[in-house]
């Protein structure tokens, strides 16, 4: 086993590694730090989407329970309709805004995934012999 075939070593004879020259170590550190930051940001978009969906569903279910109470109390009279026609449009607006932000979040997450894929491609450029394990 040569020195560069050992785990954790990068073959410096690759064209990308040669292009970096003496700055290869710094470049790899930069890339791995960036990879870590991108993963963190991507996880944040996922948890934000989950949190928003939970808030929306909680508001919706409490709204429906309140509507059921007021419907029983007023025997589906004017109070029920007034209550429903105030609350439902508010809920619909909240849902539209929530949907917009969730679409933005999903696209943001896609962008992070794509940036991570670019970094992975650069890792494979630095160490082509790692291609099989990286694709597992």
């Amino acid at each position: 086993m040569t020195r560069w075939a050992q785990p954790g070593r990068v073959d410096p004879s690759g064209p990308l590694a040669q292009a970096f020259g003496d700055r290869l170590g710094a470049a790899v550190s930069f890339a791995t730090t960036e990879h870590f930051n991108l993963q963190t940001a991507r996880a944040a978009t996922v948890s934000e989407a989950n949190g928003r969906a939970s808030i929306y569903l909680a508001a919706l279910s409490s709204n429906l329970i309140a509507l059921a109470f007021i419907g029983q109390l007023s025997r589906l009279g004017t109070a029920f309709y007034a209550f429903a026609l105030i609350l439902l449009p508010v809920l619909a607006f909240m849902g539209v805004v929530m949907f917009q932000r969730l679409v933005q979040s999903s696209i943001e997450e896609l962008a992070y995934a794509q940036r991570i894929a670019r970094l992975r491609a650069s890792y494979l450029g630095l160490a082509p012999e790692r291609a099989i394990s990286a694709r597992g």
Binding site: Y56, A84, L91, V103
Partner: protein, 103 residues
Amino acid sequence: VVSGRAEGLSHRERLRPSAWQLTLTTAGMVAVVNSVVIGACAGLVVGRVPIGSLLVALAAGAIAGAGAMSIQRRHHRHASDRYTPEGINRAAIFVPEAQRGRS
């Protein structure tokens, strides 16, 4: 995305998820629930009109809900189609000016 597609994704490959796949996302789920809320709201409004019967109110609610669903799906599809790798180095949620002009 992660397994084995790094090279393709790093270049100009377009990601185009199916309509069903978009429905499976969190945004798609909220769109479905929101359409039901909008449909119910429209049905209640029509139900309060003296000329409207239950059938008319149901039809109005269904039409409003389907319309809201269609608009939201189209928006979702449009937003995911507008995204390209060139937009990566800007804030990821923004669309470059050139593309905004074309769409």
